[in-house]
Amino acid sequence: MRGRVVTLATARPRVYVVEAPGGRYVRAETHRELDRRGWQPAPSPASADALLIAGTLPDPLRAAADVLWSQLPGPRARAEPTAVSSVPSTLDGLRACLRDRAGQLADRRGRELDEATRWVRSDSARHDETDHDDMDHDDMEMAPGGLVLAQGAPDRDGLEMDALRHPLGPLLDRWPGGLELVTTLHGDVVVEAEVTWWEPPHPTAPPQTGRADDLAGGWDAAATVLSLLGDERQARLARSVAPSSPEVGDRVLRRLDRLTRRGALPRTAGEVLHTALADSVPALISDDELVELVSGRDLGDVRLLVAAHAPLLQGVVDASGSLDD
């Protein structure tokens, strides 16, 4: 009975797919392989069965990967495929790991029930070295659970509300590998942003196995945007465009244009996708332009804009090579 339920439960595991710096091709192949199997990617680590980091992580991001790993509820599995060819076997391995009862029991037994406090503690310890404050008493009061409370900041409306610093990236699903955009949020609106790029430990070359038609990443970006809009059906089409017919491409393009017209997509995002897919390469954008692009936007719009511009971001191009190389 239990065995049968477990088989049913793991028939299509939900994988949280994250792109490491330079891991674009492996990540794209992972999404295609998930499509082939009819598995759905997980939208957040909270409900994911497995964590898949596509590409090789640089050492500074190891801790971030461990934080993500600690956020999976379990039963859980993780993998870091570094080559396009190893993606299918990796996914098989993830499922096998989820089905391995002894292994899962051992994982849970070795796991603390409190996976949060140790991160907070190590984080604040790091701060203390530099800050060197003697406000321990205040800290206890102002920092329930070890995290400080948000502080007020003046707003354009002449009000003082709390501002939150919220990182997008480095390890986020459907997000360009290596980009860390630390936003300052007033409510759900981004008022400021800082850009950091994490470099891959070694340069990754585009795979030799075909798909030259999407090396500029236009269709990949379109698929990401559609998926972020919750339209998985069209996202699948966009991912399959390269091998399938131009008509499919036209359909996806028409869909994107319609979404832009109806305001489901920020206009800038729609325009840049249209340009990229209609066979002219748009200009690359610098970090400053990226900040300019996202400030004043709703948090969701920021995700859509970054996804649409992903192939044009300087850091992404540096890390994964472009057509010109």
Binding site: P144, P154, R156, D157, L159, D162, V191, R267, S295, G296
Partner: protein, 199 residues
């Protein structure tokens, strides 16, 4: 009361106790969200008590309106109380002594009124459909109320919007009100706000 069955009595007292306890919780809990929704539960229980008094329309409308208002009020409470709304010890009580005195006096006056006033015996029966009776009252005998409410509500909307929007259409569009709005609508403004912090 025509049917004072044990079940109805029990349910009524249940509602009353819930209403009072959750009303008191508003002043005990340490979070704006909890305080607001404690108040909402208190109101729902009051709605239940009204239902048991066979005021069916009044009962359901109390539930409907109060859940809605509390959902919006929670947002305001979170926004405008000058401290963290959830993670700090807080007190919903100001000027203890006056407040306590005032509430005690009010309670005693109202409570003794309810208990001591010789309520008249009910003559005649309530309308079979209280909702319909209410509708007739609004449209016929109490038309004036209805007429007055309209302008009052318009005034509320105008004053509310005028007071709450710091920037109106002139700030958004400049003098040329016919130009198409930008996407996002308030872009330049936000960036100015952002820079202000850098100062």
């Amino acid at each position: 009361m025509t049917d004072s069955s044990l079940v109805v009595d029990l349910a009524f007292w249940g509602c009353a106790v819930v209403a009072v306890v959750f009303g008191a919780l508003v002043f005990v809990v340490d979070s704006m969200a909890r305080a607001t929704y404690a108040l909402a539960v208190s109101f729902v229980a009051t709605g239940g008590a009204l239902l048991l008094m066979q005021q069916s329309y009044l009962g359901v409308i109390v539930v409907l309106m109060m859940v809605m208002e509390m959902a919006v009020m929670a947002v305001y409470m979170v926004m405008f109380m000058g401290m963290n709304p959830a993670l700090m010890p807080m007190s919903m009580v100001h000027s203890h002594r006056t407040a306590l005195g005032a509430s005690l006096v009010t309670f005693v006056v109202l409570g003794s009124g309810a208990v001591l006033v010789p309520w008249p015996e009910r003559r005649g029966a309530p309308s079979p459909d209280v909702t319909e009776a209410l509708g007739r009252a609004i449209m016929e005998s109490h038309m004036l109320v209805m007429m007055a409410v309209g302008p009052v509500m318009v005034a509320t909307i105008v004053v509310g919007v005028a007071l709450s929007t710091a920037r109106t259409r002139y700030d958004r569009l400049g003098d040329d009100l016919d130009q198409t709005p930008t996407d996002p609508p308030l872009r330049g403004e936000t960036q100015r706000g952002g820079r202000r912090r850098d100062r």
